[in-house]
């Protein structure tokens, strides 16, 4: 009697989570619509002054993306916690951190990647500087996985509590601030013609660190949450 391979377990988990997102695709679209609505409201509120909007475009896109991610964050482990699947994950013979990394990957793929895909449109709504058309999605590509990984650790800590939304926001926002500063900072620097590579490299370094450490922290936090 021998358990299956870890690769098979990860593949099964990835497939299951993707199917689940597809079956609830209405819910999965919420963060995308949220970001689109927030960004579309700014020109209406500020007025169609091209220079003003262009000046704040990067900031608005980043904040909208961050808040949309926060909106979707609580669903990361909530369903699995409530129906007992999480216990089964913890009891599986495979490394929990690896399984959780798969869950976070699916979460990022289904909530953040669509946002990155429509980020040129979001930029266009705010008269984004044409020079930033490639840099903005690139900066988001480095920022959003970092946000997902940091957020996952906080969700893992709070999943055992009822109505943990407010606590989660309080926990996660201070950790999101540096990521926001580096991500938006790189784009702002590029807009002003300053060197922008350093903040992007900092983000990349942070992402590598988080890729290794966040799933481990997540696993430890979840073990505490379900006991």
């Amino acid at each position: 009697m021998k358990p299956g391979s870890t690769a098979a377990a990860c593949a099964a988990l990835l497939r299951r989570d993707l199917v689940l997102v597809w079956r609830r695709r209405g819910d999965a679209l919420t963060p995308l619509l949220f970001a689109l609505i927030v960004v579309a409201l700014f020109p209406l509120a500020i007025g169609a002054q091209v220079d003003t909007l262009r000046h704040v475009a990067v900031g608005i896109v980043f904040v909208a993306t961050l808040l949309a991610g926060l909106l979707a964050l609580d669903t990361l482990f909530r369903g699995d916690y409530e129906d007992g699947s999480l216990e089964q994950l913890v009891l599986s013979p495979h490394p929990l951190s690896l399984l959780l990394a798969c869950k976070i990957a699916v979460h990022w793929l289904t909530t953040a990647l669509p946002l990155i895909a429509i980020s040129p449109l979001l930029g266009e709504l705010l008269f984004l500087d044409p020079a930033l058309r490639t840099l903005l999605p690139l900066a988001l590509l480095l920022t959003t996985p970092l946000l997902s990984l940091i957020g996952a650790v906080c969700v893992a800590l709070t999943v055992g509590m009822q109505r943990s939304g407010m606590l989660l926001a309080l926990l996660v926002l201070p950790l999101y601030v540096p990521v926001l500063i580096f991500g938006a900072g790189a784009c702002n620097a590029a807009q002003m013609g300053l060197p922008f590579l350093a903040p992007l490299l900092w983000l990349a370094a942070g992402l590598v660190l988080a890729l290794v450490l966040a799933p481990l922290a997540c696993a430890a936090a979840l073990r505490i949450s379900i006991s």
Partner: protein
Amino acid sequence: MPTSELHDRPALLEARGLSFARNDEPIFGPLDFALHAGETVLVEGDNGAGKSTLLRVLSGLLAPTEGEIQLHGEPLTLANLSPQVALLSHHNGLKQELTAIENLRFAAGLHGMRQGLSSVSALAAVGLDAFGDVPTRQLSAGQKKRVALARVLLAPVGLWLLDEPYANLDRGGIELVNRLLETHAHRGGAALITSHGAYAYTSGAPRRIALRPSDSRVGVGA
């Protein structure tokens, strides 16, 4: 299997002075018992006696407050336990949006599959062969329990920890659980099941462990 032969081998699972307290409030114990291969042991107790907590402690999800648990004579950790145990808890661990078969396929991917079984044959074994493609959401509570039992049956493990396996089941379902437990014991597996006494384990005479709330009186009898 004669009892004397059973007890010559080291116990599959052994608890010594096991107790659990939550916020200094004792939930159960201290308990001493051993579970050997080929045995089915029934944990009996009223609501709130700590049956589910005992199972969660034995599955490694909760750390005992005092005492120790040994698995094949070695101290229990999640790492050495998880390839050997299947837990059926209050939550069935099934995804409502997935069909019964999809749930079982996922479980097989996660925990591995018992030789000679497949998701389809496990579902047939619990009498749900006609419901494989029905979303779990549309199944009744008893049918969901049966799917969860199929998941336990599918896992290639020797130790079953079943929390209230009889709950929600009809007469046929109760007989099914007894039959599954008997087959499992015959192939050398062991099972610890809980019951609050309303459902009887009918076949054979399993050993019983009686749990009483916030109390250390423990009776172990045949």
